[in-house]
Symmetry: C2
């Protein structure tokens, strides 16, 4: 390259990792093209709140163009990347070829049904705004149907909600849904006996949120039981036909609503990428976050597979993606300046999960909290992390309102 | 009926008319069943704001169950009425038969394409949340496509937005869209030359908002031109194929976005009702708002056709529906108490339409206003009329924010 050439950095994905990389290069002498399938960045840790009618889609999403209005070295393009060629150094988008000098693959993941085709067909998921809104419509529709169902057994089946997966998303959804029923739906459906409703959380292993310390795992179990969530550990799903859920031990649950939160795998575009992969199609990268044979290509976030100092795979969570995004921006600058690249070291900022109103579990600076103090930390940390000052104010106002009046804001059923 | 029988009032439609009827019967010794296809009441006068990304769906919609939480004599049922039998006095809903003593048909209207099948197929409309969101997605997608279109003619076509119908909805949409482009999109798409964008308002007759006084019609035309809306009077549509709009004078407009606001007709369920109808399938009623042969059946709002004192048909607007709802509740009580029914007299509360930021036209207590004073009245009147204190606060906050920062809150493109 001659010295007048301004390096072109293409970033695929406007999730946490892609956004942080782009910001880290704000003052660099580079040209950035940021690509995403959607026109907005999504604050995924609160997506389950959309599904339980606690937040509006627009409150956890921000248009990418608005975020980068002031960053003049960045161009946004909306569209789905159909191919990545790491040999020829280009990506295909909307029928065009976009050549790059440096590529950052920050495409995130998609739901992994582990081959359960019946669940993929009939189940609900929480992966993007569309699937969350679909889940919300389903939950609310079940109450409407139950309200004019005379048969008690059929009514109970309509009001049985099954969440599969005892990770953070699963426990947060279960807790919030149990509360929606006991505090809000009770008022909207005075003629329904909501003791007929039940929230069941299925976990295949012997414990919830397995990467949390033991005292928090126990606190989680206790807090969920307080909220009347029926937690079933060592319960492995066998099949779901839209009406009945079969478990591996032969038992059956009658329900039309199965929310699958049990896995993430690589997105389609990575499948055709001829590089070394780990479980779920995640791409194996070097400690400097590069593709082994292609130093100008970085892979970060859920799409990447990297072991930490203890030899454990880094979890697929937003804090890892954010830190990797910052590290990638620094390493790209070092590549441009022909300096030695730095290895990525994940700094664990702590663990935090909420289980409905007034209840959460957290581990921060090595200290475990649960109950109300953890919940207060959760509320403020999440409001702080939401992008956009305006959204912060509105989310804070909404939560304060819900808290005081026990009233979730949006229970609209919208057609698809 | 014996004196222990509690009369059953069935109200179809939770729009302005149905809601007002139900409220008017809150203290009556009746059993009310309120039915709607959606689980929410929609504040339709602000629906165009959803289409131009100015308001969120949930800010102009309120769950019906929440509205009537405290009214113990009312049951809500969500579903589409498949048949009305005014002889046998029942309606069919979700496969069940619901018998009534009194029926209120307040089903509203749906878009009348006047036989333009091509417009029905390729055009956009503003009738409910779904069609408004679809319109919003289309508008925003055109900017995204234009941002990576190198051909100037194709780009201009993508950025040409045509609104058909010079009624209140048409002028409000045109004004608001022109402003979205010049104030908000300009910042989000710094690389697009938005002077290539145009908003065209087509009206088949010789004037806009024809039932307004002449000085307001002229003010409207002036205000729209100030905002760079290309108003074309005496322009009759011929066809639209999704790419080109043909006009009756032989001219063509290249555009993918046609928003049809030019007519309303009766909803499907009324088509099979064997009673006398006026233009657009609206049902002819007595001055007491009853069906001529069926005094226990009332028809109100957009579904009804009634002449005013001057022999003019009452307009299909929310204030008529609200006043008819209140009158119907009173007449039902009079029927129950065997008193003489009162004729309906529409009290015109004035006319009001907004044309974007700082500009509106109004006629209140016989006085015509335009420009800024009319706009201030419009803002506060609409906030006052939105149901739900919480929504009022949030809408007020949003509008204040947009006003100060020239920034519409939601420009999310959501998949269908």
């Amino acid at each position: 390259m001659n010295s007048n050439h301004i390096p072109h950095v293409v970033i695929i994905g406007a999730g946490f990792g892609g956004l942080e990389t782009a910001r880290g290069l704000a003052k660099a002498r580079v040209r950035i093209t940021l690509i995403d399938r959607h026109n907005h960045h999504l604050f995924q840790p609160l997506l389950y709140q959309v599904a339980i009618a606690g937040l509006l889609p627009s409150q956890i999403a921000q248009p990418v163009r608005t975020i980068f209005r002031k960053q003049k070295n960045l161009t946004f393009q909306m569209g789905a990347v159909s191919a990545i060629d790491v040999e020829q150094k280009y990506v295909k988008l909307n029928g065009s070829i976009i050549a790059y000098d440096y590529l950052v693959v920050a495409v995130g993941g998609r739901t992994n049904f582990f081959g359960f085709e019946s669940v993929e067909k009939y189940g609900y998921q929480l992966k993007d705004l569309e699937t969350a809104i679909k889940t919300r419509n389903q939950l609310l529709s079940m109450f409407e149907q139950a309200s004019h169902e005379a048969d008690v057994e059929k009514r109970k089946a309509l009001l049985t909600f099954v969440i599969v997966g005892g990770g953070p998303t699963g426990i947060e959804t279960a807790g919030a849904l149990a509360e929606l029923i006991s505090h809000v739906m009770k008022k909207d459906y005075p003629n329904l006996n909501l003791r007929e409703a039940q929230v069941i959380l299925l976990e295949a292993s012997a414990s919830l949120i397995s990467f949390y310390p033991a005292e928090l795992r126990e606190a989680t179990l206790r807090l969920l039981k307080n909220k009347n969530v029926d937690v079933r550990l060592n319960s492995r799903l066998e099949s779901f036909n839209g009406q009945f859920i079969k478990l591996a031990d032969g038992s059956e649950i009658e329900s039309q609503t199965l929310i699958w939160t049990a896995g993430i795998k690589a997105v389609e575009v990575l499948e055709h990428l001829n590089v070394e992969k780990a479980a779920g199609g995640r791409i194996r990268i070097t400690p400097t976050l590069q593709l082994p044979q292609h130093p100008e290509t970085f892979v970060i976030g859920d799409a990447a597979f990297l072991l930490d100092e203890k030899g454990q795979p880094l979890p697929m969570i937003s804090t890892v993606a954010i830190q990797q995004g910052a590290a990638t921006a620094k390493n790209i600058l070092k590549l441009i300046n022909r300096q030695e690249l730095g290895d990525f070291h994940y700094k664990d900022p702590g663990l935090l999960a909420t289980i409905g109103r007034n209840a959460a579990v957290a581990k921060i600076f090595g200290v475990s909290f649960s109950g109300y103090p953890a919940w207060v930390i959760w509320v403020f940390l999440h409001i702080y992390r939401i992008i956009g000052f305006r959204n912060r104010i509105i989310v804070l106002f909404n939560w304060a309102w819900d808290y005081v009046f026990y009233d979730n804001q949006v229970r609209l059923i919208t057609k698809e």
